[in-house]
Homo-oligomer: 636 residues x 2
C-alpha cells in the first residue's frame, strides 16, 4: 500500500514537511497549495527536493469553486485551472483535487455541471493531468460522495474521476454501500481522516478536529476495506486539519501519521477483504493480543528513602536488590511489582533524545524509529511500565514496524532479555513474557513468596501537550488497548482532559491525562502521575499504612457530609471512611473505596478496593484529590 | 445594582475565589457546591470569611434532578434537599438554585411537577430558604424559561420562584417577551453570561465557551433591561463556565467580571428603561465617544539606532527630543506619530507588577484597580498607544470606574498631563485630547511641519493566553470600540486567532492576535506586534525605503505567480509589486497594497495603501508574512 500525507497535516515550512514525511517513511505527499505559495523555493526546486528524498508528489490541492457557474465565470475558472495545470507541470505532478463548489455555484443542474467537468477534462488532457472531484460535506449543491460519483460517471471523461475522503463521507453518516458501485480506476485519490464524535457544525469539525486513523471514533478499517474492494490501487493518503498537530513537532506528527496507516493497513489485511478486485498490496503486522496484565512498574528516584518508605507503608515487601545492579530494587505486594531504580547511579547519557536526528538532514534520513521521545522529568518519576504479553518478540516486532523507538538497555548474558520502546510521553513500555504468578525475571532479585490478592489496578499517566492523540493511537496500535470515552475533570487550575486506555477484561487500565498549561504550572510535566494498587480490604491496608506512618492525602470533612447527602451510607462505614481519608463511590453494579498518598517528586500512589462489578475510577472524587494536591503545592 | 459572581467562574481554591471577588469589588458570590465540598474549611469558617471580606453569600448552587420523578425517588430527593438546607443554614444562606431535571425525570406532567415543587417549598419554608427554579437549556422536559415560570406560578408557593439565566434563554433563541409577565419579586435570582456565536451542542457550548457580558455576541443590555423592568431587585450575578477562565489568574478574572457588570449596568442605565417598576439602582459611567484616531504610538527600545533607522527608511521625519527627557524622541510621517523611548534610561522599577497585591490578603483588600498587568517584554517593544479622544478626563474617569489600573507617570508642572491605564496585555493606553492636526503635547518636542497624507492605519497587538476575552471587553468598554468577527490565520507553528477591534469610521483598527503556544515558541510574548502606516502611494514609499536601504520582509516568487492566477493584474503592476516585495489584495469595493519590514525586538512595521473602500487587512496574505517570519526566526 502506497502511503501519502497532505502537507497541511504538519507544522513548519514546506521543506521541513517534506523532510519529515520522508524520514517517517511515507511514499509520497499531497502538496497543499498554500504551503507552496509561501515557500521561497521554486516549483522545480521543490520537485527536485522531493525526488532526492524519495517522495512522489501525489496530489496538488485544493482547486475550489469551479463548477455550477455561469459561462463568464466558467471561462475565468478555466483560466485559473490552466495556471494551476502549468504550475503542476513544473512540479511534475499529474493529479489535482477539485472540491465541490462551496462559494460561487449558482446553478444546481446536473447537465451544466457535467458539461463543465467535461470541458475541464479536455483542458486537463492537454496537460496530461487527472482531476479528482470530491464532494465537500458543506458543498453548496454537491455534498455527498455518491452525487459526486454520479456526476463523474455522467461526465464520462478519462481525465475526470472522483476523490473519496473519509471525513466528508463519515461526518455526514452517508450510506457507504454505493462505494461498491465505483470502479476502482475511477477513484483517482483516497484521503483518510478520523475524528472524535462531536456535535458541532461540520466545517469547524473538519478544520480543527480531524485526527489520524485510530485516534477518533470512526471505523476506518471498514471504510478502507470498502475502497480496497473496488480495486483502487492509488496512494492511501492522510488529510488531517488539527489545531494541535499544527503546533506539534513536525517529525513526531509525521511518524504518528505513518503509524496510523501501517496499523490500518494491517487491520484491513487481517479483515480478508473478499474480492478479486483487490489490487492494493496490503502489508500485515505481527498480531498481538491484549496484555494479560501489568508485569511491573519502574520508578526512578533521587530520594530512595522517601519512596521505599512510602511503598512499604502501602504494604509492599522488599524482595531484593538486582543481583548485578545494586541500585535497582524490587518490591512486591501480591502481584503488584515495583522496580525502584536509584537515579544517582544511572548513566546520565544512556538516552540522548537529540542524538538520533542527524544535524544535516539533507544527508541520508535517519530511520523513522529514531524519532526522539519527550525527555522524562528528573527527580522521582515513573520511568516505565512492563506489560505481560503472550509473545514479547511479536510485540516488539510489531512496535518496531509501527515506528516506535527501542529503549537502549544493557543485559548481562545470563539475564532475561526485556525489550521495550518509548511511549509518546517519554516513558518506557516493556514487553514481558512472564507466564504464571512470578515471572522469571524476578529471579534476578531473589524470591519472596507473596500470595496476597493485590495487583496494579491502574496507572495514571500525564501526557505532554500536542501529543495526546498520538498516545491514544500508540497504545491502541502497539498494545491492542481500547480508548474509552474522554471526559473533563475540574481542577483548581483548569479542566483536565482524561481518557482511559484499557484492555477488555480490565487487567490493563491507564487513564491518560492532559493537564492545562496554566499560569501556575506552565510545564505540563508538573502534573503528577500515579500508580493505583488494588487490594481486597482497604481498611486493613489503611490500618497498616497508619501504623507505618503514611502521609495520607487529607480529605475534607465537607466531602463526607456531601457523601452522606448523596448516599445512604451506614454511619459506621461513613465514620471509618472519614477516619482513614478514604473516598467512596458507587454505581448500579458496585462500589469503589480508595485513598491517596502524598506526592514524591512527580509520583503518588492510590490504594483501591473494587466491590462488585464497579469499573470506574471514582471520577466524582477526582476534584477532591486535585484540590487537596493544589493546596499542598501552594503550601497551604 | 448589587453584583455577584459564581465561584465556578474563577480558578483556585474557594478561599482564593472569595478573596478575588472581594478585592475586585463584588458585593456577593454564588457558592458552587463542589468548591465547598473540596474545601478544608467548614461552612462556618467560610461564612465568617465571607463576612470579613464584606461578601454576601447570595446563592447556593446547583441542586439537580429533583422534580418529575416517582414518589420513592421524590422522597429520596427531599432528603437530599434537606441535607443541603441544613448546610445552607450553617453557611447563613437563604437561596438555592434548582435546575430543571436532566437525568432522572420520568414524568412529564405539570400537575406532578407543580405538586413536587410545592412540597419542596414547604420543606424550604421550615429552613427559611427560597428556591429559584431554572430551566436548563437541555432539561429533559423543562428547557424554556417561560415553561419554568408557568410551573412556578402554578405552584404558587412563597418559597418557590424562578431563576433567569441569560445563557439558557439566549442559547435557545426563545422569544423574550414573556419575561415582562413575570413579577420581579418572583424572580428569585438572575444569572448572566454572554457567549460567542457557535454552532455546537448547547451543553458543550455552555460548559466550555461562556464569557462575561460584552465578550460574546449577545445583546445583554436588552436582556438586563427587560429583567430590570419587571421590578427585579436582587443581585445581578455572573455564571460563566469557560476553559480559559478556569486556567487564568483568579484576581484578573474577577476584575474582568466586575468590569463586565459595571459596563452593562451603565448601558442599561443609559437605555432609560421605561417602567415605574424599576427597583434596581443603576449606576452610570461617564459616556465616551469612539476615539477620533491614533494620537501616537510609543515604542521602547534598547536598540535606538536600528529602530530609528527603520522608521526613517519608512519616511518618518525626526521632530526632536523631548525638552526635558532627552531619552525620548518624536518622529512623524504626516499624522502618524511615533514616540521612541530609549529603554536604557528608563527607571527599571517604575512599574512593579507584584507590589500592588498585599502579601497578607486577609488585611484590607487592595483596590481592585491595583491588579497588576502582565509585564511587557524587554528589548524593542510596543509600549503603548495614545488615543485621540473628545474628553480625556471623562475617558480616564470611566476607565478607573471600570477597574483599569492607572499608569504611573511623572509630568513636569509645565507639561501636558497625559493619563492612561494598562491594557490586559500590559501595554499602555493613553487618552489625549489633542484637537486639530498637531496635538499640543507635540510642542514639547519642537515643530516639524508635515502635511503628507499619512497616519497610523492599524496596530496589531499580541495577546497573552487566557486574557483574550478580557481584552475584547477592555477595548469595548473603555474606548467604545467594536469587536469584528474573529478568524484563524494559519502559520507554520499553528493557527493564530485574530479579532479586530475598531471604531465605526475605521480611524481606529486594532487586530488582536493570540498566537499558539507551540513547542517552538512557548512564550506567547515571542509573537511580534506591528504598526501599520497608511500612505497614499505605496510605490513612492517603497522607492524611498529602497533608497534608504530598508530590510524588506521578502515575498516569494510563488506568491506572485499565484496572484497572477487569482487576479487579472496588468503585467506592469505585477512586476512593480514583485520588485518591491509588495503584497496585494482586492475585494468588491477596493484594493490593498502593503509591504512589511524585518522585525526589531518584538516589533515590525507595515506600510499600506488602501484604494477605494477596502476595509480589510490583506488576510489572504497573512500566511505569506508568517512563513517568511518563521524562516527568518529559524535562520533560514
Amino acid at each position: 500500500m502506497r502511503t501519502s500525507i497532505a502537507t497541511v497535516c504538519l507544522s513548519g515550512t514546506l521543506d521541513e514537511k517534506l523532510q519529515a514525511a520522508a524520514q517517517a517513511g511515507f511514499d509520497g505527499v499531497e502538496i497543499f497549495e498554500q504551503d507552496l505559495t509561501v515557500s521561497p523555493d521554486s516549483p522545480e526546486v521543490i520537485a527536485a527536493r522531493a525526488a532526492d528524498l524519495g517522495l512522489s508528489l501525489d496530489l496538488f490541492q485544493p482547486f475550489r469553486d469551479f463548477e455550477g457557474v455561469d459561462e463568464a465565470q466558467f471561462e475565468a475558472n478555466l483560466r485559473r485551472a490552466e495556471a494551476k495545470f502549468r504550475l503542476m507541470g513544473r512540479l511534475g505532478m499529474d493529479t489535482i483535487l477539485l472540491c465541490s463548489n462551496v462559494g460561487t455555484a449558482t446553478i444546481d443542474d446536473d447537465e451544466v455541471v457535467v458539461e463543465q467537468l467535461r470541458r475541464l477534462g479536455d483542458l486537463a488532457e492537454r496537460y496530461d493531468i487527472d482531476v479528482a472531484y470530491e464532494a465537500l460535506a458543506w458543498g453548496r449543491y454537491v455534498s455527498e460522495y455518491d452525487r459526486a460519483w454520479d456526476l463523474v460517471r455522467a461526465a464520462d471523461h478519462p481525465r475526470i474521476g472522483t476523490c473519496l475522503d473519509s471525513f466528508h463521507i463519515l461526518s455526514r453518516g452517508t450510506d457507504l454501500s454505493r462505494i461498491a458501485e465505483i470502479p476502482g480506476e475511477k477513484i483517482f485519490f483516497l484521503q483518510l481522516a478520523d475524528a472524535p464524535a462531536l456535535s458541532m457544525d461540520v466545517l469547524s469539525w473538519s478544520r480543527h478536529h480531524r485526527v489520524f486513523p485510530g485516534e477518533g471514533s470512526w471505523d476506518l478499517t471498514d471504510f478502507l476495506a470498502r475502497v480496497t474492494a473496488t480495486g483502487y490501487a492509488g496512494p492511501v493518503s492522510l488529510e488531517v486539519f488539527n489545531d494541535s498537530f499544527r503546533q506539534a513537532d513536525t517529525q513526531r506528527t509525521a511518524v504518528d501519521g505513518l503509524r496510523s496507516l501501517r496499523w490500518l493497513e494491517a487491520n484491513v489485511a487481517a479483515a480478508h477483504v473478499d474480492s478479486d478486485q483487490v489490487r492494493l498490496d496490503l502489508q500485515t503486522l505481527p498480531q498481538v493480543a491484549e496484555p494479560r496484565g501489568v508485569d511491573y512498574i519502574e520508578l526512578d528516584t533521587d530520594d530512595l528513602g522517601a519512596l521505599t518508605r512510602q511503598i512499604h507503608q502501602l504494604g509492599f515487601r522488599f524482595v531484593g536488590f538486582h543481583r548485578t545492579k545494586p541500585h535497582v530494587q524490587l518490591w512486591r505486594r501480591g502481584q503488584a511489582r515495583i522496580v525502584v531504580t536509584e537515579s544517582a547511579d544511572i548513566d546520565p547519557v544512556s538516552v540522548d533524545p537529540d542524538s538520533a536526528v542527524p544535524a544535516d538532514a539533507t544527508a541520508a534520513p535517519a530511520p523513522a524509529s529514531a524519532v526522539a521521545p519527550a525527555p522524562v522529568s528528573s527527580g522521582t518519576h515513573l520511568r516505565g511500565i512492563g506489560f505481560a504479553v503472550a509473545d514479547a518478540d511479536s510485540a516488539m516486532e510489531r512496535a518496531t514496524l509501527l515506528q516506535a523507538t527501542e529503549v537502549p538497555r544493557d543485559q548481562a548474558h545470563d539475564e532475561e532479555v526485556l525489550r521495550g520502546v518509548f511511549a509518546p510521553d517519554g516513558s518506557e513500555v516493556f514487553f514481558g513474557s512472564g507466564t504464571g504468578v512470578d515471572p522469571t525475571w524476578t529471579d534476578e532479585f531473589g524470591t519472596v513468596p507473596d500470595d496476597r490478592r493485590s495487583a496494579i489496578d491502574h496507572v495514571n499517566l500525564a501526557q505532554p501537550a500536542h501529543h495526546y492523540d498520538e498516545a491514544v493511537l500508540f497504545y491502541t496500535s502497539l498494545l491492542a488497548l481500547h480508548a474509552q470515552v474522554s471526559n473533563d475533570v475540574p481542577s483548581p487550575s483548569g479542566l483536565i482532559r482524561s481518557q482511559v486506555m484499557a484492555s477488555s477484561d480490565g487487567a490493563i487500565r491507564m487513564p491518560l491525562n492532559l493537564a492545562p498549561r496554566s499560569a501556575e504550572s506552565p510545564e505540563t510535566g508538573s502534573y503528577p502521575e500515579h500508580v493505583a494498587i488494588a487490594c481486597d480490604d482497604i481498611f486493613t491496608a489503611a490500618a497498616t499504612a497508619v501504623s507505618r506512618g503514611l502521609d495520607f492525602l487529607p480529605v475534607p470533612e465537607n466531602y463526607y457530609e456531601d457523601l452522606e447527602a448523596r448516599f445512604d451510607l451506614a454511619p459506621e462505614l461513613l465514620q471509618r471512611l472519614r477516619e482513614n481519608n478514604i473516598l467512596y463511590d458507587r454505581d448500579d453494579v458496585g462500589e469503589f473505596l480508595h485513598f491517596y498518598t502524598s506526592t514524591i517528586g512527580s509520583v503518588f500512589f492510590e490504594m483501591v478496593e473494587r466491590r462488585g462489578d464497579y469499573q470506574g475510577y471514582g471520577a466524582p472524587n477526582a476534584p477532591v484529590r486535585l484540590a487537596a494536591q493544589h493546596r499542598r503545592n501552594a503550601g497551604h
